[in-house]
């Protein structure tokens, strides 16, 4: 029995893995047949998980909805930080939009960064609980949606044009952050809270998430109205419901952490095997 078979069998539950590897050892099965045997069982087990509602909720609710809005929030934060860092690095001055004071800009970016950290951790925690053994797939998709969907949206709407880079570079840039600022943001505000949240290494962040979401939403809405005033209506602010909707959609998993009498927390906890 070769290492590849053992590696593939790691995708099975520990008990079943032992049984299957024992059967293969007893039959003297090895090589390609053993590999296909284990692979076949792994694929069947993975497909079976999709017959329940849990991974679908993870896929649609977290990867699709939360992931998309998290991507847009991260993108907005990246632009804000990039403006400040570039202005300071090149001209040693603060980047001042004129819309709000520098102090207010920093407070808003800080709140948004803290909120993104909390949202990522809470989303990743629920993603893990809902996905079970297909967590590797939903986790990968969550990363790709958060990392790429905002850029893809800009690209498809024609706001961004890619040119001058070789195709391989463009392909890699869709999977990995290739400049230091983007890498820092992805690592500290996405990768670390996502991994820690998924592994349950962070304390319950319910109050922090609610507070950060409220602060980020209010400051974001106020900024939109300040911009409307500053531009004499050239950039009209959306209604408060339209402003708050993305914050609600990105933070909805925190509702599943509330320990209420309706049993919501129990319904979303990891099923016992």
């Amino acid at each position: 029995m070769n290492g590849l078979v053992r590696l593939t069998a790691r995708a099975l539950e520990p008990g079943e893995r032992e049984i299957v590897l024992g059967d293969l050892a007893e039959c003297g099965s090895s090589g390609t047949r053993a590999l296909f045997d284990v692979l076949g069982l792994v694929i069947r087990r993975q497909l079976l998980i999709w017959t329940t509602w849990r991974p679908w909720l993870a896929l649609v609710g977290i990867v699709g909805v939360s992931g998309f809005y998290l991507s847009r929030m991260l993108s907005g934060l990246s632009v804000g930080i990039f403006e400040q860092v570039t202005a300071w690095r090149r001209y040693s001055v603060h980047y001042n939009t004129g819309v709000t004071s520098f102090r207010d800009d920093v407070i808003q970016l800080s709140c948004l960064a803290a909120a993104i950290f909390c949202w990522t951790a809470v989303n990743a925690s629920l993603l893990r609980r809902l996905s079970g053994r297909v967590g590797w797939l939903t986790g990968l998709l969550f990363y790709l949606v958060v990392f790429d969907s905002s850029a893809a949206w800009s690209f498809l709407s024609g706001a961004v044009v890619y040119r001058g880079n070789p195709p391989w570079w463009t392909a890699v840039s869709w999977v990995l952050p290739l400049n230091p600022e983007a890498a820092s943001i992805v690592i500290f505000l996405f990768a670390i809270p996502a991994v820690c949240g998924a592994l349950g290494r962070l304390p319950a962040m319910t109050p922090a998430t609610v507070l950060c979401t409220l602060a980020a939403a209010v400051l974001g809405g106020r900024h939109a109205h300040d911009l409307q005033t500053f531009s004499n209506g050239a950039f009209p602010a959306a209604s408060w419901s339209a402003i708050l909707a993305p914050y609600a959609l990105v933070s909805w998993p925190v509702l599943t952490q509330l320990n209420n009498r309706c049993g919501i927390r129990a319904a979303f906890s990891e099923p016992r095997r």
Binding site: V20, G22, D37, G40
Partner: protein, 103 residues
């Protein structure tokens, strides 16, 4: 009603008796039905039969030839025997009087 592969698994388990477990059932099916039996198909079918209450499974002892790993033992329940009997009788009735000739 049972499916064809479910019937084969139950038949193999009954034939093996007290010594019915994954690898033995697989060998029995491949030997008697002259068809290959993948581990994936076997274990998902065993799970399905168990959830229907047609078989019972439990962890057996580990042996040296299995590298010290445990077996998943299988026992057919009374309900499983009745279902298999019904399947066999249905197939017998359905094929009575037919002469199959390969063309």
């Amino acid at each position: 009603m049972l499916g064809e592969f479910e019937y084969l698994v139950i038949s193999a388990a009954v034939r093996r008796g007290e010594n019915a477990y994954g690898a033995a059932i697989r060998e029995e099916i491949e030997h008697t039905a002259k068809r290959s039996c993948s581990i994936g198909a076997l274990y998902t079918t065993i799970d399905r039969l168990e959830s229907k209450g047609l078989i019972e499974t439990w962890m057996g002892e580990a042996t040296a030839e299995r590298g010290g790993r445990a077996k998943r033992m299988v026992r057919v329940t009374g309900k499983g025997v009745r279902e298999a009997t019904a399947f066999y009788q249905a197939m017998t009735r359905a094929t009575r009087g037919l002469l199959w000739e390969a063309k």
